[in-house]
């Protein structure tokens, strides 16, 4: 029996195999970017990485965390890095996020730049302080019906230095239909002198990946991963009168700042802290703050409810926080002529509304501080 019929299939197989071989050879040549050296800030730091991935990813692998609001998808424009080497023309995906000046000085979106060769880059100093942290959840406490306090003991590194007011990125683990970890930002509510712990207030957001995980999955004793400390929201060391406003879980950085000032004895300037909520059951941590108020002459704590129910038996301030704030500006705060600063933490709407009241009452816009990631 002649095997001539085999020639056909063998030829097809053979040719296909040769072509596949050529493809994989070309692939390994073309897609093998080899080792690339990334030089940061003119020699301040030098990394050797395997090319082929985005600059954002490779830096994160080397523990340098460039902030991103969209997870590297190219839709937020936050991950800007100044690239001094030639990495090709600006991609159409980057153009919408770069100003004229940035385009000229080499600023690029690090999530869109693929590292194929050695490169020199420039990044802000603060990014070097941001670390990856492993911790264990020591306690989870309910503060209100939709806010939990999460207290984490640091394992590696065992201590963290940070400025009161900064935030951390908490990483959730896969659960339910969600197959990948996700990261979201939460301000530290613990003061910096509690060096081996970090505390957070997490408010449940319906459909939120990390808040739902915190409320439904996270257990005491569980080990978690965080990136910290990030952000430039912190107390400015001046003698100005400080007006601080928080709503809901926005209490966290303000609480950290207040406790920090109290512990350091930084108590000679007036501090007014306004905490706004809807009903009594949305208030929390108020006892401790009133205790501090009784001992610290220059510290004033004002709680305001916008919709107190009859059962609340509320005799404190009533109204939207912006109205209460305005009243105090014109009355009790006695602000005549004094330099003032504003510190805000809460929802974007609340922040915008409070900025309006503050500027109307004499606080210049550049002296009003808030976390821009909000």
């Amino acid at each position: 029996m002649s095997l001539a019929f085999l020639i056909g299939p063998l030829a097809i197989g053979g040719i296909a195999a040769v072509l596949a071989g050529i493809i994989s050879v070309v692939d390994s040549i073309v897609n093998n970017y080899g080792e690339c050296k990334i030089d940061i800030n003119s020699g301040q730091k030098s990394l050797t990485v395997t090319g082929g991935s985005s600059l954002l990813q490779l830096l994160a692998q080397e523990r340098i965390f460039v902030p991103s609001a969209c997870g590297g998808r190219g839709s937020c424009g936050v991950c800007k890095v100044r690239v001094l080497s030639d990495v090709g023309p600006i991609l159409p995906t980057e153009l919408p996020y770069l100003e004229e000046e940035e385009r000229e000085n080499g600023t690029r979106l690090s999530c869109q730049i693929k590292v194929k060769d050695d490169m020199d880059i420039e990044i802000p100093e603060e990014l070097f302080n941001i670390k990856e942290i492993r911790g264990v959840v020591e306690e989870i406490n309910d503060m209100t019906h939709d806010i939990k306090e999460v207290r984490v003991k640091l394992i590696d590194p065992p201590q963290l230095e940070f400025k009161a007011g900064q935030y951390a990125q908490l990483e959730s683990k896969p659960y339910g239909k969600i197959k990948e970890p996700a990261q979201r930002a939460y301000s530290m509510s613990s003061p910096p002198h509690d060096r081996d712990h970090l505390e957070f207030y997490v408010r449940l957001v319906p459909g939120g990946i990390v808040t739902t995980w915190t409320f439904e999955e996270l257990q005491e004793g569980e080990k978690i991963r965080l990136i910290a400390p990030i952000g430039d929201f912190h107390m400015r060391d001046t003698d100005a009168l400080k007006v601080m406003i928080a709503g809901g879980s926005g209490m966290a950085p303000i609480k950290s700042i207040v406790l920090d000032m109290w512990e350091k004895g930084d108590t000679d300037k007036p501090v007014w802290f306004f905490f706004g909520a809807r009903t009594r059951k949305d208030l929390f941590y108020t006892e401790k703050l009133k205790e501090i108020e009784s001992k610290w002459e220059n510290f004033h704590f004002i709680e305001a409810l916008s919709e107190p129910t009859p059962e609340d038996k509320w005799d404190g301030e009533v109204g939207l926080i912006t109205d209460v704030l305005d009243r105090y500006f014109k009355g009790e705060m006695n602000t005549n002529g004094k330099p003032m600063e504003g510190y805000l933490c809460g929802s974007p709407g609340m922040i915008d509304a409070c900025i309006a009241v503050m500027t109307k009452n004499g606080i210049p816009e550049d002296k009003i501080y808030y976390d821009k990631f909000a």
């Binding site: 020639i7 056909g8 030829a11 097809i12 040719i15 296909a16 072509l19 596949a20 050529i22 493809i23 070309v26 692939d27 073309v30 897609n31 090709g88 023309p89 991609l91 159409p92 995906t93 693929k114 194929k116």
Partner: protein, 198 residues
Amino acid sequence: MNPPPVNLAVLLFASVFTSNILLANFLGMCSFISISKDVTSSNGLGMAVILVLTVTTAVNWVVLRYVLIPLGLVYLRFIIFIVVIAAVVQVLEMVIERISEALYIALGIFLPLITVNCAILGVSLFMFIREYSFVQTVIYGFGSGVGWWLAILALSTIRQRVEKAPVPAGLKGPGITLITIGFMAMAFMGFSGMLQVQ
């Protein structure tokens, strides 16, 4: 193999105009109609087609001459040609991405789209039927590519103007496009008396 005695310059002119693969043979229609909505994309696709046609036709000639004919497997040309086309497009994609990311993004989806373009297979098969020599094959492949590019560029610019014309609702889009292509083909048919290569 018995290459026809065609002058190379004539062959080039013929592949681009008189025997235009799109308008004379009506091959490569699907991406022709769908991509010609946009002039920049049409340009990008056309250039990619020139590249792919030249390379694949040449490679297919080599495979035909040195593998299929000696082994008596000419009947397998359909399968082999398609496999070669797919592989060449893959390799081209990788190389372009490496060499110029901006060009890769500009060509984008069009590179892999070319694999399913029947004009590519068609040109290789015509090369076989007409028994072209290697040089003739390269000229024919390149010329057909240029012809395809010119045709899609022309159609896309025509469509820009037709967009603004008062076309009856039922004919908008594919309808008027096919009618336009028909007119273009008729115009090119006028060439057919000039130079015959098929």
